[in-house]
Every structure is written in structure tokens, then in C-alpha cells.
């Protein structure tokens, strides 16, 4: 490790880290927002569930580099546009979470739903105030997987020349220089761990009724 090089490149690395965070977090939030209604729809309809889960599974099989390259054809963007990465990762996040949201709503005990109904909750109130909160642990478990794999997937975009932490890998390869590669790997792992930890905290905050000792 060449600490001096890291010091000189500090501003660049912070810039790359910033982009990496944006390219990871924006698709995560967009994906969750899209997956919530779709998952609810799949949960409500026996016919829609296999259809949505099937399409999600097919989308998830498309390799990331291929999706990054194909999306410009669909979106009309340039190949270097970071928007392609945001769209691709949003697709992966939705594909992963649709099933998770549907299964989370499915996991809510029927008694709980009935009790909410008996207390006069309308179906949308029951969904927002009872079923979704009860499903939060399952959804956040899925969100953790999506967050951690997004961090790794973003770095693939470096092969197309879109700046983020993955650029440190390609730079290290071209220069035969270990320092940026190791720095990039460490920052990716730390970022993944921080996002993972934040989702665990968010989960605890949203589900205050669960016992304090939560197995991660």
C-alpha cells in the first residue's frame, strides 16, 4: 500500500466514493418504491403472483454488463450515461424485492388482518398501518441483500468508463499498481457494511415491538 499516493488522490477517491454511493442508493430507494405496489399486487392476486415473480426472475438472470450495454437502446441514452446504471440496478432491485414484498405481506398472520378489520380499519388502512409494518423485517432482509449486491454491481460499470469506486480497479490494472485496487475493494466492503448496518437500524426503528436482541 502506497499511503502517499492515497493522500495525493484523496479528492479523486472522495469524488468516486460519492458517485458510488449515489449509484447504489438511488436505485435501492427507487426499486423499493416500485416493488412495494407491485409486491402488493402480486400478494392480492393468485394469477398475477406467478407472472410478476416469473418476469422478475427472468430480468434477474440478465448479466449486469449486458444490461448496462442494452439499456441505452431502450432509454435512448448514451453508453456513458450514469442513468443506465441507475436504471439497471433499479431493475435488479425491483426484480429481487417484488417477491420479497409479496412474501412479506403473505407472512402477516391472518388473525392480525382479521383483528384490524374488526377494529374498523379499512383495507388501505390495514395495509399501511398493520400489514406493511408487520412485514417490515422480511422486506428489510431482502433490502439488505439488494443493497450489498448493488455495491458490487456498480463497480462493474467501471469497465464501460463510468466513474465510481470501480474506476480504481481499472486504473490499478492499467498501472499494474496495487494501492488503488486494495483501496477500492476496502471502500466497497466498508460501504456495503455501512448500508447493511443502516438497514438493520432502520428495521429496528420501524419495528419497536420486536425483542431488542435481533439476530443479524
Amino acid at each position: 500500500m502506497n499511503i502517499e499516493w492515497l493522500g495525493r488522490q484523496f479528492d479523486t477517491i472522495v469524488f468516486l466514493l460519492g458517485w458510488h454511493v449515489l449509484l447504489t442508493v438511488i436505485p435501492l430507494i427507487l426499486g423499493l418504491l416500485i416493488a412495494l405496489p407491485l409486491g402488493w399486487w402480486a400478494h392480492r392476486s393468485r394469477r398475477i403472483y406467478p407472472l410478476l415473480v416469473g418476469v422478475a426472475g427472468l430480468l434477474y438472470t440478465v448479466p449486469s454488463l449486458a444490461l448496462f450495454v442494452l439499456l441505452p437502446l431502450v432509454l435512448g441514452t448514451k453508453i456513458l450515461d450514469p442513468l443506465n446504471i441507475v436504471a439497471a440496478l433499479t431493475i435488479y432491485t425491483v426484480a429481487l424485492l417484488v417477491r420479497v414484498v409479496a412474501d412479506a405481506l403473505e407472512s402477516v398472520p391472518e388473525d392480525t388482518v382479521q383483528a384490524a378489520k374488526a377494529m374498523g380499519y379499512r383495507s388501505w388502512q390495514s395495509l399501511l398501518k398493520v400489514e406493511l409494518p408487520v412485514g417490515v423485517p422480511v422486506i428489510s432482509a431482502g433490502l439488505r441483500v439488494a443493497a450489498v449486491s448493488n455495491v458490487s454491481l456498480v463497480s462493474v460499470a467501471a469497465l464501460l468508463g463510468i466513474p465510481q469506486l470501480g474506476s480504481l480497479f481499472t486504473q490499478g490494472f492499467q498501472l499494474r499498481f496495487f494501492t488503488p485496487i486494495i483501496a477500492g475493494i476496502l471502500l466497497c466492503v466498508i460501504l456495503a457494511m455501512i448500508l447493511d448496518g443502516l438497514i438493520i437500524l432502520l428495521n429496528r426503528w420501524l419495528t419497536p415491538w420486536t425483542p431488542k436482541v435481533v439476530a443479524s
Binding site: 454488463l65 449486458a66 450489498v148 458490487s152 463497480s155 480504481l168 475493494i185
Partner: protein, 238 residues
């Protein structure tokens, strides 16, 4: 699409069939090595309950490691020692195996754990030895989960083998990386389409194999269509 339908690109040492062949060769070698490591280990951990920490820790830690970074790091470490083609083939295979082990391992473990304890007890009561219980009861019952682990491992491998073209591994990723270098977008699109089709094909193939080899008793397919559902429909004649 022009690139894909140009007959010149379908022949020769760097033609599309050769690239598909290379992609498959590396993918299947990596999958085989990963399965040989992960399936016995998963069975061992599942049956004995020893080393469960490996399952939870390993799977999550490896997901967080960026595969591009790992590939490049290993190439720089290994290639000076192997001046030939092995200098990039070996690191690629190591990364592919490393990514494929966790899904197979966790699913094999979960599959063995999920086998109905009553089924194991029944087999023991019928005089099955431990080894026979494993091969005739526990393994067939855990097969659906093991195969679903193999399925996600293979998709991961096909996807990452594409990326390994950057460190000059052969395969369909060549079209993407070389196309990028030559500013030839139609070549990149051809590569992307072919890789996506390859992944979809293998995903569906493994789904098909799973349906064929998994015992119908486990999926209740025959039960649904057979006589059990029938009685309700027959009219009651007094």
C-alpha cells in the same frame, strides 16, 4: 444488430461459436469445481451442525466483495508467476469458483436441514443405515434446494465470466470489451444479447432439469392432478 447477422462473425478463431464455446467451458469448469467443494461441505455442515458460522458469515462477506476488484487483484498477484495464458485463466477461475461456492453451500445446508425429521426417523426405523439415510432420504429430499443453489451459482458465473474478458479471458465478454475498445456499439450489443440469451437458456435448462429429477412426491405435482382432489367433484348419490 448488424454485427450479429454478419456471417463473417460466425466463423474462425474469434467467431461467435468459438466465444460461446469458451464461455461455456470456463463456466462449467468453475461450476464443477464449486459443486465438488460446496455440496459435500454443505451436507457435512447440514448433517452434523458443525461450522454453521461458515454459512452465514461467508455468504454475506463474499457478496460484499466487488468481483471486478477481486479479479484484477488476483491477476496482478498471479500473472507474474504464470507468464502463459494461465496468468489470467487461473485468477478468473478462482474468482468464479469463489462466487459460486456460497449459493451452493448455503442451499445444500438449508436443504439438508429442511428435510422432515419424521422422514429420517422413519428410514431409521425401517433399518436404514446412516449412509443409506443420507443417499436415499436426505439427499433426494434436499435436491430442489441444492439445484436452486446451482442455478443461481451458474448465473453468477456466466455473468462474472463476461466481466473477466476485461482481464483478457475468452468468451462472449470479448465482444463487449473489444467493442468498447473499438467504439463499435453494435459489437457490444451483439455480445450483450448473446450473453443474456446464454444466461436465460441455462436458467430455463436448470429449471427444466429440476422439474425432471426432483421426486414428484416432494412437489405434490402428482397429488394435485391425481385422485385426491377428485372426490369433491363426484356427485353424491344417496
Amino acid at each position: 444488430m448488424n454485427y450479429l447477422f454478419d456471417p463473417r462473425h460466425w466463423t474462425g478463431a474469434d467467431g461467435i461459436p468459438t466465444l460461446i464455446g469458451e464461455h461455456l467451458l470456463y463456466s462449467l469448469i468453475a461450476l464443477a469445481i464449486a459443486a465438488v467443494i460446496a455440496v459435500p461441505l454443505g451436507i457435512y455442515i447440514g448433517v452434523t451442525g458443525k461450522g454453521v458460522f461458515l454459512i452465514a458469515g461467508l455468504a454475506n462477506a463474499l457478496r460484499a466483495l466487488p468481483s471486478v476488484g477481486l479479479l484484477i487483484l488476483l491477476v496482478l498477484l498471479i500473472s507474474p508467476a504464470f507468464p502463459s495464458k494461465m496468468g489470467y485463466i487461473l485468477p478468473s477461475l478462482i474468482v468464479l469458483v469463489l462466487l459460486a461456492v456460497p449459493p451452493i453451500l448455503t442451499n445444500t445446508y438449508a436443504g439438508v436441514r429442511a428435510v422432515d425429521a419424521a422422514a429420517v426417523d422413519a428410514a431409521r426405523g425401517m433399518g436404514f443405515r446412516t449412509m443409506k439415510i443420507l443417499t436415499d432420504v436426505q439427499l433426494p429430499c434436499s435436491l430442489p434446494l441444492v439445484l436452486s443453489g446451482v442455478r443461481s451459482a451458474l448465473l453468477q458465473i456466466i455473468s462474472t465470466a463476461t466481466i473477466a474478458a476485461y482481464i483478457s479471458l475468452g468468451g462472449l465478454g470479448r465482444l463487449l470489451i473489444d467493442g468498447k475498445a473499438q467504439n463499435d456499439y453494435s459489437q457490444m450489443v451483439a455480445g450483450a444479447v448473446l450473453v443474456a440469451l446464454l444466461a436465460l437458456f441455462f436458467d430455463q435448462l436448470l429449471a427444466f432439469i429440476t422439474r425432471r429429477v426432483v421426486s414428484p412426491g416432494l412437489t405434490r405435482r402428482t397429488i394435485k392432478s391425481a385422485s385426491i382432489a377428485e372426490p369433491a367433484k363426484t356427485p353424491v348419490t344417496v
